[in-house]
Symmetry: C3
Subunit: 343 residues, 3 copies
């Protein structure tokens, strides 16, 4: 059901501390906490004795003690104390999930293979001083009642902004510019190049932009769902589609959908930009707007999920703009098959 040999966002760093955090990820109950030294730990959230979630227990130093019969587990998930007996049987342990803490996020590996740090996406935007980054939803995930892959589809076909976000992103006419799809080993890229167009009204007003611009949208999604939506503009005629964008005005939206179950997910998101970093009014308007935008997207995806539940076998057609989304679904499918054949 889920890709396992890859990283998922488990939580924002700020969510995890000295009180257990319970979160179901990929259908498995997980509990997160920090040791005295600040190391984040992720354990299966189920005591191996009588199944009480360990998150209902108590942190003692670097360890967690079950709240039912007092079994104590260390940060590796090994049981190190059983009240009333000296002997600890060998099977007394719960699964521990490797974590990497980077870019203010906790990345979890729930696969059967060794964790591979090289599979992390590049989300440096979050703490790179060249960017101003606003963390979404107060550093909490947004719960979504839909399968995580719908979010990949959503981001890889931005023609939806005309219909789903008419009052915020709008951009009527965007659908007249063709898209390019690129398929990589573990990611897919969609690019739309919109030369010689008016600037987006919000930026034109707040940044006092005169004249026409070249706009671009690039969406990179790394397996399984780590997305960078790089949208920006430069004065018309300064850039070509594949030029270095360092000097362009760019907004990079970072989004990842972690599956909770087959039909529910957590969306983590942040918004970085490399321009007008001191413009608080822009920040404020941008944040308000993005709240509306994500709510609009989630309403669409949840309605799709309900429709899929009601008519699971209904046929569907594809359109030209689906090319990147279909490429991503094929990539996921290929990796799922690889995991199944290795299992």
């Amino acid at each position: 059901m889920f890709l396992r040999n890859c990283w998922y966002v488990a939580a924002w760093s700020a969510e995890v501390g000295r009180t257990p955090l319970a979160r179901t990820l990929l259908g498995r109950p997980v509990m997160l906490y920090r040791t005295v030294g600040g190391e984040a730990v992720a354990l299966e959230d189920r005591c191996c004795h009588r199944s009480l979630p360990l998150s209902k227990g108590r942190i003692e130093g670097d360890h967690i003690r079950c709240g039912y019969h007092g079994l104590k587990f260390d940060r590796t998930g090994t049981c190190i104390e059983i009240p009333g007996q000296a002997h600890i049987p060998p099977g007394a342990r719960v699964a521990r999930f490797p974590l990497i803490e980077r870019w203010k996020l906790l990345w979890i590996w729930m696969g059967a293979t060794e964790p591979d740090e090289s599979l992390l996406p590049d989300w440096h935007y979050i703490d790179d001083p060249a960017w101003l980054c606003i963390i979404g939803n107060g550093a909490k995930p947004v719960p979504m009642n839909c399968n995580w892959e719908l979010n990949n589809d959503n981001l890889l076909d931005l023609s939806h902004v005309v219909y789903v976000h008419p009052t915020t992103l709008g951009s009527a006419g965007l659908e007249n510019f063709p898209i390019r799809t690129e398929r990589f080993v573990k990611s897919v890229r969609m690019t739309r190049w919109m030369p010689d167009v008016p600037p987006m009204p919000l930026f034109a007003r707040l940044l006092d932009i005169k004249g026409r611009v070249d706009r671009f949208q690039t969406v990179d999604i790394d397996l399984p769902s780590h997305s960078v939506v790089d949208a920006g503009f430069a004065p018309a005629g300064k850039l070509a589609i594949d030029d270095d964008r360092t000097d362009a005005q760019r907004a990079c939206i970072l989004i990842s959908a972690t599956p909770e179950t087959e039909t529910t997910s957590f969306m983590f998101f942040a918004q970085a930009r490399n321009f007008a970093k001191d413009n608080d009014e822009l920040s404020r308007i941008y944040q308000q707007g993005s709240k509306v935008i994500f709510e609009e997207d989630i309403a669409i995806m949840e309605a799709q999920q309900r429709a899929a539940g009601a008519l699971p076998d209904a046929a569907q057609i594809d359109i030209n703009f689906d090319a990147p989304g279909l490429a991503m679904r094929r990539l996921v499918q290929r990796y799922l098959e690889k995991e199944a054949s290795n299992a």
Copy 2:
């Protein structure tokens, strides 16, 4: 599961306008709207591209545009525009369901065969000036958490009024009068003839009726669930059981239960009468009473549904008064088998 080659009530005419109405009928999501010229249209409520309900989209002239990627469909369900491409693939369509608008209702045909207008029941009472007709529940269906066939059972055994509606319809002693069951090609009729009885207290008081009356109850149910409950009275001795009833004082209750799913339904109802048409007090009391009566019936049917869910294989006995209800269930079963053998 459902009879398909027949008409169902989809909505009251007044419910459907220039804003999409979403309603699940026979387990399928349907959306209803009207064209500029007022024609009512029923389409499958699921875009053939990525399954968003079309009812979440926008009506443009006579057409509906999907709210996700902007595909546009005409009143026949054919896709006539796909943003970003000129070619429209041949499978780009959603199902369209034939409608007939009559007696202030929209009748829908969700079957595989050609719609057959001759299968409509005769519900002329709703707009025939010989009758005063009060439309039930403000021209909205009443949702019921039960299978639609329980409603047929309920109406074809009116002996239940003694126990279910003691404070409104009451009629203790009614069970002492025998019933007659008639089986027709596509309907069943139950008749109870109660000669030389006191008038119903409500009518006796409001209409100042002296002396005894002959009362009758006839319930006709046309496939699948279109019911006319014709209940009335005449001065004792004036009528025989099968006489023309034109001159009797008659109340005709029209009821149809459209399945939403196997376990939920929509009840549409209206109350017509051919007497005391100007008596507003009677109308008011009648309307208030019928609200209570339908709530009582629905409470019974929903409890039956829960019981059937808890003990689906429990045996049941039949009693004499079940003859019309059993005849109707056999008729439905025969048509279901006919549809299955033709499929």
Copy 3:
């Protein structure tokens, strides 16, 4: 799924009167009422005609009349009247379940064999004047969203009080005293003997106890879930583990968990003690504390149930203190197999 040839607590006597009480027991809908003479009756809560729960009907003398078509049943579940017909078909009956009323409780037998009064547990504490007994939760069962057997596990391993009830029962160090498990034909006993320990703080204060005591805990569970938790103390050195406890200060908690479904149960409980029977402050504090304690236990068991639902096949380890609980589960299993082989 359920042991059937045994007694279950159906209700407190005070719950059942001249209005039908509906309660699902062992997955079957049951209705309870009393005859004019006060005899308690338990019938299947489903009319054998069209499945309406009989509890929605009306008690008439010693009988119950269905609220839909008026079929009347006597206290044995036999239909004795069908409106509109003289003949009553032989299958017109609903199941009747034998009841015994004792110790202010109604004990029900839902098995296929003859009820065996000798299988009742000994719960004389409830109305024996040698004891003061406080009936729990205002003589109503406490609903629990968990399987009934979790309650047996809970009571047979009282080491949990250290972790689950730290602010009320506490007793840190209790886990250092070994337990003894005894297996009988239809029950299991756990005994913990804690010689020469300080008295429980609450009792030391309220009863002005000086000096050390010997404490004991004995938990007897009779099939399927009738538990007597006998906890008490005597001045240190006066008693040995198996001595007669008549002169000790004893609190006997009576608890039974009746299955409603596989995943929900009703907990019935009462607290008896043979000391300080006039001490109202002790009664009040004891009652308040027990409310908190049962809420804590139920929260644990409900979390276990959710975990079992999420990961039904997860392995578990056992610890030394599980011996009594495992003995009880094996006893239940043995009787289940016996019932299955006789069926």
